[in-house]
Amino acid sequence: MIFKPRLKDLKTIGFYLGKIILGLAFTMALPILIGLCFGELNPVLDFVLSILISLVLGFLLIIFCRTEEDLNWVQGMIVVSTSWIIAMILGAIPLYLSGHWKSFLDACFDAMSGFATTGLTLVQNLDHISYAHNFWRHLIMFLGGQGIIVIALSFFVRGFSGAFKMYVGEGRDERIMPNVINTARFIWMVSIVYLILGTLALGITGIFNGMQPANSFFHGACIFMAAFDTGGFAPQSQNILYYHSIIYEIITIVIMVLGALNFKLHYHLWSGNRKEIFKNIEVVTLCVTILTTFFIVAVGLAQLGSYPNALVLFRKGFYQLISGHTGTGFQTIYPQQFLDSWNPLALCGVIIAMALGGAVCSTTGAIKMLRIGIILKAFKEDLKRIIMPDKAIVIEKFHHIKEIFLEDKLIRSALTITLAYFVLYGLGTLVGMFYGYPFLEALFESTSAAANVGLSCGITSITMPAGLKITYIIQMWAGRLEFMSVFAIIGFLVAVIKGK
C-alpha cells in the first residue's frame, strides 16, 4: 500500500527547500558586484530583482514550513530534485530580464544547462551581453558543478544527519572526509584553489594573446569555471575559437581533465599519495577510453580528409573529443562543421566519449568511469570463469583509493545506472527524430544533453521546437542527478495521487 504524504512531510521538504533557495539568493550577489565594477546599472537591477524574489520565496517557505524534523531518505531526494527545478526557474529570471533570451523557456533551458554543467545554449547576441549576466552564466556552472546542495551544506546548513541524504541525492555517493559537510567544504577548497590558478594562467595567456587585461582575467575566470566544472559555456559566441590560441586550448584541456577527476582522487593527490593516479581504476579506464575513442575519431576524420595534415587533425579531433569525454562541451569548430567536416564514424567516436563521461564524484555527467571500469572487470571475471576449470575460484579486485573486491552488488548497481543512461540517451533521440531530425544528429544532441556535455551539431537553436527544449531540460536534470532523486520525485507524485 502506498501512503499519501502528510502535511508534516511537505513542511519538512519545504523548510529545507527554503534554506537552499536562500543559499542560491546569496550567490546572486556576486554578479551584482561584477555589474557594479563595470558600471552596468540595468543588469544590476535584474539581479536585485532576482535576489528579492528568491529571498521572498525562501523566507516564506522557512516561516510557514518551520520544523525541527530531520530529513528521511525520500524527503532528502525530493528536496534535491525540486531544488534543482527551483534553481533553474530562479536562475533564469536575471537571464530573461536581460533581453538576450527569446522566451522564459529559453532562459530556463540555459539556466538548467548551466546548473547541470551542460553548456547547450539558446542565448541571442551573446557578444553584446553584460559582464554581470555573462558572469552569472558561468557562475551557475561553478555552483552546479560543485552541486547546489554542496553550497547549502558548506555555508548555510549546520550539521544534521539529513545532509548525507541530500548529498547522495545530488549524484554523489562518495565521502572524502568522514563528515559530509567537511567533504562539501573540501570540494569547495579544491575548486577555489584551482579557480585562482586557472584564472591566472588563462588571464596571463589572454594578455599575451592581445586581450585587454581586465577582459582577459574576466574571460579567464569564466572559462576556468566552465572548464573545471565541465560546463562548456564561453563568454563569446565563438566559444574557444574566439581566442585563436593553442596555449589557451592546452590550458583548457588540462583544466577539463582536472574537472573530470574524482574529488577523492584530488584529495589523495593533495595529500601526497601520487601513486594513486597510476593505479586508480577510473584514471586507467579514462586513459583507455580516451585512446579508443580518439582512434575512432581520427580514423573517421582521416577517411574524409577533413584536415590538411595529421597535426591539424589531432588538434581539432582531440580537442572536441576530450571536451566531449570530460563532459565539457567547449568547441573549436562551429556546430555545423560536425556535420559538414566530420563523417558518421568520427561523430560516433565523439558520441561514445560523451556517453561515457568522467569520474564519479567529479563535476562531469554521463555513465562515468568507475561504472565502466566495474562493468569491464565483470566481463573479465566472467571470461575467466568460462576459461578456467569449474573448481577454480575466480576473484576479481579493482583499485579505487583502496583495493575493493568486485561484488555482484557493485556490478548490479553499475549496470542499472548505465542502463538508465542508455534509456535516457535513447528517449531523447526518439524525441529528436519525432521532430524530424536525422538519427545521428538526434543521437548526438540527445547524448550531449543527457550526459551534460554541451557539444552541439546544430540542433540546439532558438528555432528548435519547444517540446525538444523541454525534453533536453529534463534530460539535463535527470542526467545530472543520476536518476535516484528523479525516481524519488516520480514516486512522491504517484503517492500524492494514489496514496491512502
Partner: protein, 159 residues
C-alpha cells in the same frame, strides 16, 4: 582597343572564378558551404566584436555578421581603422573584409578563418546608452516592501 579586350578576356579566364566568388557572403554560407569557398577570395562584412588581438605583425579580429562570428587574420597596420569593438556598452565598427577564406587553415591549426587582404570601414561603431529601467526599479521596491512584511510576519510567528 583590341589588345585591351584581349587582356580583359585573359584576366577573366584566369581569375574569373576568384572574381565571381569575391562577393559578399554571410557567415552561414561560409560555414555551411566551407568546402566550396575553401581557398577562395571572399568578401565578408559584419561588426567587430570583443578584442582586437594583436600578434606581432598580424592581429586577430572577430567579425560577427549577426549569425556567427568569424576570425579574421589581418595585418596589424590595417587594424588602425578599428576604433570601437562591440560589447554590452558599444556597437562595434562595421567592416567589410576581402580576403582568402580557409575551411581548415593550415597556418592556424585548422581554424575556419579569413586572411584579410583589404579592410573597408562601412560605418563607425557607437557607444550604446542604457537608460535606467524604472519599471524594474519600482518592482524592486515593491519586493523589498514584501520582504519587510515577511520579516515582521516572522517576528509575530516567533512570538
Amino acid at each position: 582597343m583590341k589588345n585591351k579586350f584581349k587582356f580583359i578576356f585573359l584576366l577573366i579566364l584566369f581569375f574569373g572564378q576568384r572574381l565571381v566568388l569575391a562577393q559578399n557572403l554571410n557567415s552561414d554560407d561560409l560555414i555551411k558551404q566551407a568546402r566550396q569557398y575553401d581557398g577562395q577570395v571572399v568578401t565578408y562584412s559584419g561588426e567587430v566584436i570583443g578584442d582586437v588581438m594583436r600578434r606581432g605583425e598580424f592581429a586577430w579580429v572577430n567579425i560577427n555578421d549577426g549569425n556567427n562570428a568569424i576570425g579574421v587574420w589581418i595585418k596589424t597596420g590595417l587594424t588602425k581603422e578599428i576604433n570601437i569593438t562591440g560589447n554590452y556598452k558599444a556597437q562595434g565598427d562595421f567592416l567589410e573584409i576581402t580576403g582568402v577564406f580557409y575551411r581548415a587553415c593550415l597556418k592556424h591549426g585548422g581554424d575556419l578563418d579569413i586572411h584579410a587582404q583589404t579592410l573597408h570601414k562601412i560605418s563607425s561603431g557607437k557607444i550604446i546608452e542604457h537608460k535606467l529601467d524604472f519599471v524594474k526599479l519600482e518592482v524592486s521596491f515593491i519586493l523589498l516592501g514584501a520582504l519587510f512584511l515577511i520579516w515582521i510576519l516572522s517576528l509575530f510567528k516567533r512570538k
